[in-house]
Symmetry: D2
Subunit: 236 residues, 4 copies
């Protein structure tokens, strides 16, 4: 049986590239997103491309506590050990702390941090029992850099990096790996319509390949952090 | 008239030391806490000690959005410019991400991050108009270090440091200073009953003095970060 | 023709694993070390294993300025563009700043920093002309952590990380990638005879695989930092 | 008797401001610089201003190993315990790693790192015996940031920060404090003639005051890092 991998937010951007990379690598993948139609076309497309692995999905808004529960239940209903969990779900609302709209911070904390926190807690117990597993959190250069127009996004991504580091410490005795992926600007749907040339962005495949490589190391080594940026660096 | 300083969580520990330091330095201080009796005894005590400055207070649970509003209204009702804002309110619930009680992260995000975020947003507009002001956020070494027993506390403190850095960038054009205070273990009520000798902790006065010193520099220089630990380093 | 890769200190440990990984990946490799016999047996061994790529070598003590020149001349005499430069040469002399032997710091600065600095300067011009290339510097967790028994080793490795970051900034307009590899304890000859179980160390192949993966990304993405540690973390 | 403080490079800029701050605080100060005339006028000027403390000096080029020895001998000849050592000597040669003049890195490593290393080793033994003392190293934002025009300066300042962190760990059991001072652009002689307005720079007095404040804390607390920048941030 193929190893089972969970990727949140798999219909677009980095998440989609990760889903595809693991399917290609003969892992079965479970993903989720808010839009059911996107999920179903993704599944069809992937089924055509990769015949030796399977994609499963469940519609879920991971910023909502109950829907995380639903997604956990869906995963557990498969009755298979989860080998890799990739917390990728995230939202970016540009703004500035001092004047962004009320609710902006809360929205991003819920989507970018609580989602990963509760899903991890729902799944990690199984990994701890099997003494095997790998959790990747898709952080951001906003986890280590204060972008003026980052506002609350930075706050949420700093939090996610902190969560990753603490989880890494906690999981050492359980042989579970934990990796912070820290990508800079990546070309995804949210950038569509930008004036910036595409070469100012990374291809989401590069992020996915880096995760795949980190996943492929021997059990003795953990890539704790991968910092990856466009060749030309951060956007101004 | 004395400069006006706002300090959250001023009845205990570091907050109380800060309140006292600024009163001693002839600043009027507004503080808040959840316990009304603690606030009123603090006021009495300080009034006896410092006759050239005044302490005002309002009972408020800063983890509750509406009570932040109430505190902001109280501050604004004084109709005086705020020169310094010190976001000190915080709670520490020990635990581990993978098994702490449901709600632990949310509680600490609300108390340690949202409180500072909403209070700052409520006050910063006035500072921006006067092109003068200083915001201190009391972070923690848990903002930069993953303590195994830190759990969600680290997540919230990483978030607060991120918030501080972003606010610093945003406030540059407005001549408003922003400082991250990053203290290690400090002897406060929460440590009462510990077996550890008192010399393993900092005195909260040292943190207060460091803040006072940072506040006293010329307008041209901003202490962005003060990292301060017990002489013997972190607790094991 | 195969791409040409330069790896310093290729006869042992991480360096050797890198040499082998790039040979296996059909790159020709030039390496150097102080011991001529080690180099010649390495070449023989590799020639037997990898028939589609070639290993070249020159005996050199990279801590000596003139020998770096000699190695640069050797590389240039091949009249082929260098695609990848991996600065791996390094020495670890345990000790403490306050009481280590006179000359310890100088020895490690020369071996761990000056070697990389001068070799990079000798080779980077060609990369800049071809607007293509990748420089990896093998730093260490001692580049970001103050180990009590690290002494001057930490100083030299902090310096090397600084050099890597500056070079990254400088090379952005030239399409040259620069990557800091930051490994924790890796099982190499220097650890032979240790009481610690082998699983407390990484396998040097994991470091080599991570470098190979970083090298394999598209031209648009640069892995700036790879932080990789043993599953169980730093040695105590 | 006044406490005795050693400050290297005390005739200009930050060093001079530190000398003056400690004299004003009733500490006797020993300083050094390369230019004997500058030292002698400094002494005269300070003697007129501060009558309750004394300034001593010795001409020395701290980038030269033997002259560090000479300075150590001079200090020891006073037969008084050193309470504070402030390693301030430094030189900034702008440039880029890939094309700066041969010898640039070596010059800055010798002046900015070796000077502090050897002087500290010469003095720390006495501090360890008296179980009391404080070492400040004047690092730079170039210790944590890769400035494109920083070149080897950054390398040397990363090294100095590493040295500070290691020394901090080593000195914990000896009750000796170690502090990294990390200032951004400060208006000093080296900036004379710049087109930039003076308000883009810090006043060196602000750095000196921060050091004085860190020095004044109780024995239980160590300010490990002070990060201080001009209000408007780094120069572009």
């Amino acid at each position: 049986m193929n190893p089972l991998v969970v990727v949140t937010g798999g219909t677009k951007g980095i998440g989609r590239a990760i889903v595809e990379r693991f399917l290609k690598g003969k892992c079965d993948v479970i993903t989720c997103a808010r839009n059911n139609k996107d999920l179903s076309s993704l599944q069809q497309e992937m089924n055509n491309l990769y015949t030796e692995s399977q994609l499963f999905y469940k519609t879920a808004d991971m910023s909502v506590r109950e829907e995380v529960n639903g997604f956990v239940a869906f995963i557990q209903s498969m009755n298979r050990p989860v080998m890799v969990l990739i917390n990728n779900t995230g939202v970016f609302i540009p703004g500035q702390i001092h004047n962004e709209e009320e609710g902006t911070l809360e929205k991003m904390i819920e989507t970018n941090v609580y989602s990963a926190y509760h899903l991890t807690r729902g799944i990690i117990g199984g990994m701890m029992e099997q003494k095997k597993g790998h959790v990747f959190n898709i952080c951001s250069t906003a986890s280590i850099t204060a972008y003026t127009n980052g506002g609350s996004y930075c706050i949420s991504k700093f939090a996610l990096l902190g969560m990753t580091k603490v989880l890494r410490e906690e999981m050492k005795p359980y042989q579970i790996k934990v990796t912070a992926v820290i990508p800079g600007a990546t070309y995804t749907d949210s950038w569509q319509g930008t004036d910036l040339p595409q070469e100012r962005f990374m291809d989401s495949q590069d992020v996915a390949e880096s995760i795949w490589a980190a996943h492929s190391l021997s059990p003795r080594s953990v890539i704790e952090e991968i910092l990856i940026r466009p060749q030309l660096g951060d956007l101004d």
